[in-house]
């Protein structure tokens, strides 16, 4: 299943990625599962998704919670709590 992932702000700096295209195993179908999958990439990834800091997620430009379902073709984004205005 092919998805696109975007990283923003503090999280982009932590993983040193801004965007990537990924072919996910088909059993990775929720935001939580994706976070666990990415955590296997190394210590900085595991730290990021360990729950010590808040990581918000969006799918196709809508804020979602960790139980949200990921489908092929989705654009997933990870970012810290927003601070605009």
């Amino acid at each position: 299943m092919n998805i696109k992932i975007l990283y923003f702000a503090r999280i982009k700096e932590a993983v040193n990625y801004s965007t990537e295209e990924l072919d996910l195993p088909s059993d990775i179908s929720t935001v939580t599962a994706l976070k666990n999958y990415l955590s296997q990439r190394g210590e900085n990834w595991a730290n990021l998704f360990s729950g010590k800091q808040v990581v918000r997620a969006a799918i196709n430009h809508n804020l979602v919670d960790d139980l949200a379902t990921i489908k092929t073709g989705d654009e997933v984004a990870f970012f810290p709590p927003v601070t605009g205005g």
Binding site: L6, N62, V82, G84
Partner: protein, 163 residues
């Protein structure tokens, strides 16, 4: 109902004249215009700010802001709204954001303008990084902003505010 994301500065006076004229053309009887301008403070958490850099998620930002405007329009009898948010690197005293709302009566415009700002602060994908005399740092989200947004969840809109 307009949203603009831009690096350039904006002119509040011109924007409000446009909003007043548009109301006139559309035969809407505007009686009240409430506007909010946010500007870069020169101090934050005790440190002098040299620059403030705003990053955002372009495809999501306009969608999120338009959804906030629509929600405001559902809750209150407003005539028009405008959100301009700047991105890129800004200096102290520069303008960051403008929210303007027009309505027939003042109560609606005040409530809708503050509502839009409270939701923008907590729902629109912008992130601020400060360059201070102590180095660079990401601005932390404030619990007070979440509390401000929560305050609207139990707020009754239409027909319940003064006119």
């Amino acid at each position: 109902m307009t949203v603009r994301i831009q690096t350039e500065d904006f002119d509040l006076g011109c924007e409000l004249i446009s909003m007043r004229l548009a109301g006139h053309v559309l035969k809407e009887s505007i009686g009240a215009l409430v506007s909010f301008v946010g500007q870069v403070r020169d101090m934050n958490d005790g440190d002098a700010i040299n620059t403030l850099t705003l990053e955002h998620y372009p495809e999501m930002t306009e969608k999120a802001l338009a959804a906030i405007e629509n929600e405001a329009k559902t809750r209150w009898d407003i005539i028009d709204s405008l959100i301009i948010h700047r991105v890129g690197t800004l200096k102290p005293q520069e303008q960051i954001v403008l929210v303007a709302v027009s309505s027939a009566h003042r109560g609606e415009a005040f409530k809708a303008c503050e509502f839009i700002m409270d939701y923008l602060k907590t729902s629109a994908p912008f992130w601020k990084k400060e360059a201070t005399s102590q180095g660079e740092r990401w601005v932390e989200a404030k619990l007070a902003d979440d509390a401000a947004k929560k305050g609207w969840e139990s707020h009754v809109g239409k027909n319940k505010v003064k006119s």
